[in-house]
Amino acid sequence: MRKVAIVGIGTMPWRSRYADKSFRALSLEASKKALQHAGVSHKDIDNVVYSIYCETMLRQQIPTPLLQDYLGVQGTSSLRVAAGAAGSGYALQAAYAEIASGLSDLTLYVAVQKGQDFFAFDTRSRGDGILRGFSISMDTTWLQPVSPGVPPYLTVFCLAPHIDRYGGPTPQQLAKVSVKNYNNALLNPEAQIRRKITVDDVLNSRIIAWPTTAMMCCLYGDQACAMVLASEDKAKEITDKPVWISGIATSTYATQRADENVVGRMLGTHLAAKKAYKMAGIKKPIDELDLVQVHDLITGVEIMAYEELGLCELGEGGRLVDEGVVERNGKLPVNVDGGRIACGHVGGVSGAYAVCEIVRQLREEVGGERQVRIKSGRGLMQCIDGNASNNCVAVFQR
């Protein structure tokens, strides 16, 4: 397999809604930024890989020909990958494979989703429209008719059994992760929410599915991110700061087939991490990584991700929070962009945003207080979908 590098990135500020931009315009603006960052033209691109989670949410099925036309890349090969909120990672693996195999030398990766065009006219609520609109992302026969949504699902299948088994994470630890991520977002000009909060604010916010409160849950919005990926030869022509994808793996493990071995775990993250670490040659991640981005769809699954990624033993995730290990100035900062709960989230794009943050950090282009100290030159992205059933782990190396 050939080596693959990220040579350019483009992100937009997170907003709950871009009423002034269609998904076409969002895609183009993010792509322009990435192409400019790489110093290449869209006419140089061999192929395009799209990460688009939900056609009905876009109000457009089969959106890729529209985008090929709009982006000015008509006729290039394209493929679209969807895997819920983990789709950005799955699409990155596909983009990686296109170059690693030799099918392409220069790939444009575009992730886009409008999360907020749904509207429930019966209750006159956009939020209700969105919840109803993506409710069929859960198993429509066995789960959706009786399931209240993503935070309750993750709480009952993953978090609650974990708490039963290990006595934690405690509500305090869950709230501390919220405070950490909100604090990190204060330094990220692209973050959707930039507000100072306390543990009490989090614990007193509306209970969604106990112990998960509203301020422990991710946001939703409109977003587009783009990246330019290149083969080793092409990367050397383009930049002296390539960021290599040194390990990438996905694991699709349906948490809904629940028994005592599955509940209280995110086995897909564990399995994908094993494969990605092997590919990247990582033996002890807590010592060998400079920063980590995980999907904090609820803060409970951020803490569980520390464990499934092998940053600590099972059941010990809360300790990493209490000891400050995962703080911005800790041994291994997690979610320095502000995470999905404060920076922003939309299915199919968040993982790409996390990768862009890692690339910026490893290239030391962030600067200021938000810049992480780069020692090993390695970062890790983990993303999951709303059922922790689609899982992707990727390792990046400067």
Binding site: A19, R132, V146, T155, A160, T212
Partner: protein, 168 residues
């Protein structure tokens, strides 16, 4: 005459689109028997793989481990809560809002005779907050109106928990 300024004309124009409301008349296929038993007989069935003896719940027509065709086995409808969470928020347009009260106790239930857990609601019936928890014994209760979906029933805690846990 157009009296709007140029910038007003560029203001985002929001318009409704409600023409497409997906409607289905769908078939339950190989699990039709499961739903007919609920609608006609108020009874739950599990699917058992004759090859490996595992009973799958929710049921399925084939065993994913050996690909054998499963057989239907009647279940008592009683089971144990393996984990639960008290939900205090539902979107007001959710289907659930029509027939439940908050808090909604969303639980993983291991039905007696089944090897895997199913997610479902446990309706408090006089229990205080927190009384329904891991280990609580529950029983399926069928709604008056049954349409052939998993929402045609729900669970309630069995009245005499001590007796139920002692297996009597």
């Amino acid at each position: 005459m157009n009296t709007k300024s140029a910038s007003d004309m560029d203001e985002p124009l929001e318009i409704p689109y409600t023409d497409w409301k997906p409607e289905y008349l769908y078939s339950l296929g190989e699990v039709s028997r499961f739903f007919r038993e609920i609608v006609d007989n108020k009874r739950l069935l599990g699917s058992k793989c004759p090859g490996c003896s595992k009973v799958w719940m929710p049921p399925r027509g084939y065993c994913p481990d050996c690909h054998g065709t499963t057989e239907w086995v009647p279940l008592s409808g009683e089971g144990t809560v393996m984990a639960c969470t008290y939900c205090y928020f539902l979107g007001m347009a959710s289907d659930l809002i029509r027939f439940i009260d908050l808090p909604y106790v969303y639980a993983l239930v291991k039905l007696d005779g089944a090897d895997t857990y199913m997610a479902h609601g446990v309706r408090p019936k006089g229990q205080s907050m927190g009384e329904i928890k891991t280990g609580t014994r529950v029983k399926a209760v069928f709604r008056e109106e049954r349409k052939g979906t998993i929402a045609d029933f729900y669970f309630e805690a069995v009245p005499d928990q001590q007796r139920a846990k002692a297996g009597k």
